[in-house]
Amino acid sequence: MVLNMGPQHPSTHGVLRLLIELDGETVVKCQPDIGYLHTGIEKEFEVKTYQQGVTLTDRVDYLAPLSNNLCYCLAAEKLLGLEIPPQAQWMRVMLTEFTRLNSHLVWLGTHALDIGAMSVFLYCFREREEILKIFEMFSGQRMMTSYFRIGGLALEPPRGWQNRVKKFLEIFPSRIDEYENLLTNNRIWIGRTRGIGFISLEDMLDLGITGPMLRAAGMKIDARKDSPYSSYEKFDFEVPTRTENDVYARYQVRIEEMRQSVKIIRQALEGMPAGPWKADDQHVVLPDREKMKTQMEALIYHFKIVTEGFRVPEGEVYQVIESPRGELAYYMVSDGTTKPFRVHMRTPSFGNLQATAKLVEGTLIADVIASIGSMDFVLGDTDR
């Protein structure tokens, strides 16, 4: 029998279609069909100036907008050879870790919901709301933040952000314990997740899986440690791994990652450097409002940057960061004009989803939901 799961199915989190061939309850063959959310963002980059492109990156992975902002900005800054002041770098680290929490919370809530633990969803979204409020405080936007810009941040960090973050850090670790109370020793949860969704490490590497899935298979791989960007080398944190390589291990890895993110955010809060929050380069960064109104030169630069954009030296870069889902990379080619010649996004969801067939073939249909849920893909990230 051929079962058509999706594209409109509650547990495919978006519009993914799985063509599943069944023999009784066993999956014989699985064929993922993607592209329902293809928006042509890569094409769109080519007609936007570099700075305008930032707003497109939010919409790629809508659960981790700031990770995409960061990767895009880092790629452009690498092409420009731009030095970013410490405060902006640390702020970027802190906010991308908040993004990781945000993304993992949505994953945990919906994954548990798929498997049948309804209440976890409500708990997770309670804390996620707090994180979105912090994003709103910084950028004025809850989800499509565009808070990182080429050259630094979009706005000065708001007054009193420290208190808001401190308050969050006081309650959040106990909330992680709360999720664990609900799930970690829950017999039904263990029964639905332990030993499910196994895929060998060789297959994983060969099929392009990255991120928490790879770490749950015992591989200590994390771009934040392997090729540090934006001052990550100054932070003290662990890369959690498990060796069981099943849905339960992936759950444990992500829970531990949340605790590590809290650790990083705390270090960022306590050690946040003072100083400027955008780079000192008048060709790229917009001048201060005050200067623009009083100095002729600043006004000219402002006009040039807003109308024409800035020229980026010829070249190509491949910037890799660790997004909540795995290896996120932007390949950016510049031809020396004010618009990117080509931007390619190597997104973790696209790479991970490729392994779906390998993951579910030979297993029971009831486990398909748990298996694909453990991959934590976002369809916007897959189809771009």
């Binding site: 293809h38 060969d206 392009g208 591989m219 290896e327 490729q354 189809d383 771009r384």
Partner: protein
């Protein structure tokens, strides 16, 4: 021919020693190593990198359209060695007339979708690919959207 200054890069030297004709040129720019490989040699070079040089991961494959220049397309491979914590970029130039290159699926299975994506959006054919059909656009779509001569807004009348 590998430029002399790249000899000091171990990977570049190894690839050049493996097959000197395969390397057309190379550059080291912004801490990233790029090797331009002759298109017919791509599979053997990738195999060498994976099995000999421990580049076990294919991070991604993509393409760039240099229209109206000829050869028109660049197919770009980003290869990653987890042990050596090193990444390199391979670049193959492909003609705009009947663009075709051999698939590296036999080396890394992850090339499957990446190459399908390029086939879909650029119209480059991949030889020996197990399942070459559109992946993001609908099956009956005409044209290849990421080509530079494909309009961005609306359709041509």
């Amino acid at each position: 021919m590998l430029p002399e200054n790249l000899r000091e890069r171990a990977v570049a030297a190894a690839v050049s020693d493996f097959d000197a004709d395969a390397v057309i040129t190379g550059k080291y720019d912004r801490d990233e190593l790029t090797l331009e490989i002759a298109a017919p040699k791509i599979v053997s070079v990738c195999g060498f990198l994976k099995y000999d040089q421990k580049f076990i991961r294919l991070s991604g494959v993509t393409a760039v359209d240099r229209y109206p220049a000829e050869p028109r397309f660049e197919v770009i491979y980003h290869v990653h060695s987890v042990d050596r914590k090193e990444r390199i970029r391979l670049k193959c130039r492909v003609s705009g007339v009947d663009p075709v290159i051999e698939s590296v699926f036999s080396v890394w299975r992850s090339a499957n979708w990446y190459e399908r994506e390029i086939f879909d959006l650029f119209g480059i054919q991949f030889l020996n690919h197990p399942d070459l059909r559109r992946i993001l656009m609908p099956d009956d779509w005409e044209g290849h959207p990421l080509r530079k001569d494909y309009p961005i807004y609306g359709t041509r009348v």
